[in-house]
C-alpha cells in the first residue's frame, strides 16, 4: 500500500476489515446453529473461538504498513486533547515559549542578515576594504585620491580595485515632476570589484575618471525602469540629471544593489588633484585575485605602502594599510553587540525552557496516576516517551508559531528603533533560514521537555504510585531535587540577564547624561539636495540658503534655523563645530571653509531652546 492509499483509503479499509471479521463471525455462528446450538450460544462460541476481536483487527491493520504514522497521529491527538483539557497550562507554556522563541527568531534574523548571509556578489569572500591605520591605533576607512591611484597602479594582489564616494542627490525630470535620485561617484573597476557586469552597455572607464572629461552614467535597474520605461535604446543617449547632461553608458541588472550605499545612478569619480580630492574622502574596495589569500594580499599592499612612503606622500602618523573582509567591515561594530544580544536572548530562551519544564514537571506529577495505570497495563516505556515527545512537540510547535508572529512584530519595531548603522539594503526578515532556525529551536526545546517529563516518570514505580493514590509524598526526593536544580538554574540565568540589562541601562543613562554642549531637544535636521555644480557660484548658494532659512523662520513654531554642512556628532570624523566669526574659531588644516563645518549663524539672537554652539 502506498502512502497515498494509506492517507485516502484508510477509513474504507478499516470498514472493510471490520466487515470481513463480522462475516467470519456470522458464518461461524451459522454453522454452529446448523449443528443445533441456539443463536446466542452459537454467537458466544464463535466469538470465543475467534479470540480477541480488537487485537486481531489491530494486528491485521499492522500488516498494511505505516504503523508509525498511526501511532504518531494517535499520540498527537491524545496530546492535543490533554492540552485542550488544561487550557491554563497550555496558554502559559505556549506564551512562555513564544516569548523565548520570538526573541531568538527576531535577533537571529538580524544576525542572519548582517553577519551570516554572504554579500550578494560572486565570491564575496574575495572583496576587501582598504583601510588606513594610524600609529595611535585609529583606523580610517577613507583614503585620498592620489593614494588610491598609487595602490591601483602598484598593488599586484588585486584583480580589481576601485574608489568611490557618495555623490550629490540629483534631480531628474519624470512626467513633468522633479524626482530626487541618489548618485554615487565610482572609479573604473568598481563593478569588477563587485563581480557584477552591467546588464546593458558597459561600466565606467578609466578615461572617464579624468577631470574635465564628458560625464557618463550607469543607471540602476530600478531607475532605468522608473524613469526610462526600461528602454534598451537609452544606452548612448544624453540624459539631464541635476543641471548637467550625462551620457548613459550602462544599466545594471535588477539583482544588483550596492549594499553599503544604495544608489540610483553611478557617475565617474573624477580623480582630480584639487584640494577636495586630496582630502581623505574616498573609500577603496578591492577584489583579490582568485588564488590570492587575504594574508598574501596584506603582505603585498604593505610593501606598496612602504613604496608610497619612500615617495614621500605619507603623513608621518600613518602606520600602514589594513585589508579587511568587506562583509566583516560592513558588519563593523554591530558584530560584538549582535552576538552579545544573541547570547542574551539564548539565555532568555533557556529561562523560558526551564519555566515550561517545571510546569510540565508539575503536570507530570498530577498525571502520575494515569501514567502508573498505563505502565501497570503493560505500556512500554518507549511508548510513553513517544507520547511525551508528541505532547511537547505540540507545545513547542504552537509556541514556535506564536514566537514567529511575535518575531515578525518585534522585528519591525526593532529595525525602526535600532540605534546602529545597519548596511542599508541588508535584507533583514523572516526568510527560509530564519524559519529553519525557529523550527530547529522549537524541535530542540520539545526534545528537552519530552525527555525531562519522561525521565521523571520513567522512574515511577507503578505499584507505589497507585498505592499512594492521590497523596503526594514518599518517593519524591528525586523529583524535588530536579525541581531544585531547575529553580537554581533559572535564578542564576535570570540574575545574569538582570546584571547585563542593568549595565546596559546604566550605560544608556550615562550616555544620556553626557553633556553635549548643546540641547538636542526640539532640534530637527533635514538635508537640502542642493547639487553643487560648476555653474552655481558660492554667492548663489549663499543666497539660496539665506532664502530657505528666511522661509523656515517664518514657519509658526520655529524659533530659529541654521545651516551646517555636517551637524554635530554626525558624519564620519566627528569634526569639531565652531561658530563662524567666533574669535576662538580657527581653521585648522588648509584654512578652507567647508573643511570644518562652519555654522551659519541664525538670526543672531540666542534662543533659549535653540541649539547652542559649543564653546570650543
Amino acid at each position: 500500500m502506498s502512502l497515498w492509499d494509506w492517507v485516502f483509503h484508510r477509513r474504507q479499509r478499516e470498514e472493510e476489515r471490520d466487515e470481513e471479521v463480522q462475516t467470519h463471525l456470522r458464518m461461524a455462528a451459522q454453522e454452529r446453529m446448523e449443528q443445533g446450538e441456539t443463536a446466542e450460544q452459537a454467537r458466544a462460541s464463535a466469538l470465543r473461538e475467534f479470540g480477541n476481536v480488537t487485537l486481531v483487527k489491530e494486528v491485521t491493520r499492522d500488516m498494511w504498513g505505516f504503523r508509525w504514522i498511526e501511532i504518531l497521529l494517535q499520540d498527537l491527538r491524545y496530546g492535543a486533547r490533554m492540552l485542550a483539557k488544561n487550557p491554563g497550562f497550555t496558554a502559559v507554556a505556549i506564551l512562555t515559549l513564544a516569548l523565548g522563541i520570538g526573541a531568538n527568531t527576531a535577533i537571529f534574523s538580524v544576525v542572519n542578515g548582517v553577519l551570516l548571509r554572504p554579500l550578494p556578489y560572486p565570491r564575496p569572500d574575495k572583496i576587501v576594504c582598504v583601510n588606513l591605520v594610524w600609529k595611535g591605533g585609529g583606523v580610517n576607512d577613507t583614503l585620498t585620491v592620489p593614494e588610491y591611484e598609487f595602490y591601483r597602479d602598484h598593488a599586484s594582489a588585486f584583480e580589481a580595485i576601485a574608489g568611490f564616494r557618495g555623490g550629490p542627490d540629483l534631480s531628474i525630470k519624470r512626467g513633468g515632476a522633479l524626482e530626487w535620485i541618489h548618485s554615487l561617484r565610482v572609479s573604473d573597476g568598481f563593478f569588477r570589484v563587485l563581480g557584477t557586469a552591467p546588464a546593458l552597455g558597459r561600466g565606467i572607464l578609466r578615461e572617464e575618471t579624468v577631470p574635465g572629461s564628458a560625464q557618463s552614467v550607469v543607471l540602476s535597474d530600478s531607475l532605468w525602469r522608473k524613469a526610462f520605461g526600461a528602454d534598451p535604446a537609452v544606452v548612448g543617449q544624453q540624459v539631464e540629471m541635476g543641471d548637467a547632461s550625462y551620457t548613459v553608458v550602462g544599466v545594471m541588472p535588477p539583482y544588483f544593489t550596492f549594499v553599503e550605499q544604495p544608489a540610483d545612478a553611478f557617475v565617474p569619480l573624477q580623480l582630480g588633484r584639487s584640494i577636495v580630492d586630496t582630502g581623505m574622502n574616498t573609500r577603496v574596495i578591492a577584489r583579490l585575485k582568485p588564488e590570492t589569500s587575504l594574508a598574501q594580499a596584506q603582505a603585498n599592499i604593505s610593501v606598496v605602502f612602504e613604496q608610497l612612503r619612500r615617495v614621500g606622500s605619507v603623513q608621518s602618523g600613518q602606520q600602514g594599510l589594513q585589508l579587511v573582509s568587506y562583509q566583516k567591515w560592513l558588519a563593523g561594530d554591530l558584530r560584538p553587540s549582535l552576538l552579545m544580544l544573541f547570547g542574551a536572548v539564548a539565555l532568555l530562551l533557556l529561562i523560558a525552557c526551564a519555566n515550561v519544564a517545571s510546569l510540565m514537571m508539575a503536570r507530570a506529577n498530577a498525571r502520575r496516576r494515569e501514567i502508573s495505570i498505563r505502565l501497570a497495563l503493560g505500556a512500554e516505556p518507549s511508548r510513553l516517551l513517544q507520547q511525551f515527545l508528541a505532547e511537547s512537540l505540540l507545545i513547542a510547535l504552537l509556541g514556535g508559531s506564536a514566537g514567529l508572529l511575535a518575531a515578525a512584530w518585534v522585528l519591525r519595531a526593532l529595525l525602526s528603533s535600532i540605534p546602529w548603522d545597519i548596511p542599508a539594503t541588508t535584507h533583514i526578515g523572516l526568510d527560509g533560514s530564519v524559519l529553519a532556525f525557529t523550527l530547529l529551536v522549537a524541535l530542540g526545546t520539545s526534545l528537552a521537555f519530552g525527555f525531562t517529563s519522561y525521565w521523571q516518570t520513567s522512574r515511577l514505580d507503578p505499584n507505589a504510585a497507585l498505592k499512594e493514590g492521590s497523596t503526594q509524598g514518599g518517593r519524591s526526593t528525586t523529583r524535588s531535587r530536579t525541581r531544585s536544580a531547575l529553580v537554581i538554574g533559572e535564578v542564576a540565568l535570570s540574575l545574569m540577564l538582570l546584571v547585563g540589562a542593568g549595565l546596559l541601562i546604566e550605560g544608556l543613562y550615562l550616555l544620556h547624561q553626557e553633556r553635549l554642549g548643546f540641547d538636542p531637544q526640539h532640534v530637527y535636521t533635514m538635508t537640502t539636495p542642493f547639487a553643487p555644480a560648476a555653474r552655481v557660484t558660492a554667492g548663489q548658494v549663499w543666497n539660496f540658503e539665506q532664502q530657505t532659512l528666511e522661509r523656515f523662520r517664518a514657519v509658526p513654531g520655529v524659533t530659529s534655523a541654521a545651516v551646517v554642512t555636517l551637524p554635530p556628532l554626525m558624519g564620519p570624523n566627528n569634526i569639531p563645530t565652531q561658530q563662524e566669526g567666533h574669535p576662538r574659531a580657527q581653521h585648522r588644516r588648509h584654512g578652507v571653509p567647508g573643511d570644518q563645518s562652519p555654522v551659519f549663524p541664525d538670526d543672531a539672537h540666542s534662543h533659549p531652546a535653540g541649539p547652542r554652539i559649543p564653546r570650543d
Binding site: M1, E20, T23, H24, G65, G378
Partner: protein, 122 residues
Amino acid sequence: MKPNRERYQNRIELLQGTLDMLILQTLQWGPQHGYAISLSIRGRSGEVLQVETGSLYPALHRLEKQGWVTSQWKQTESNQHAKFYRLTPTGKRQLVTEQARWTRIVNAIAGIMDPAPEKGEA
C-alpha cells in the same frame, strides 16, 4: 494488552512461512473467503491444524500487500457478502518455490529422523 499482542505476533512468526504456503495452496482450487480458508485447512489436515484468526487475517492482508493474492467482495453460495481472496500469477510462482523449499526441508528432516531411505511425509 501489550503481552497479548506479543503472544499473537510470536505465533504468527512461528507459523509464518508455513501458514502462507498453506493459504496459497488452499487458494489454488479457487477464490475463497477467510472463514472457508480456515475450515479448509482444518478439514484437509484432519482437524490437526487449527488456524488462529489472529494469524489468518494478518497473513491474508500481508499476502495481499505482497501481491500474491488479490481480494474482491462477492456473494457466497448462502448469499452472504464476503471478501474473497484469489491467487495471482506471482502468488502461483511463490507457491511453487515454497513447495520446493518445503519438500527439501521435509526430506532433510526425514533423513535425520529416519536414516533408512523410505518415503517420509509429515
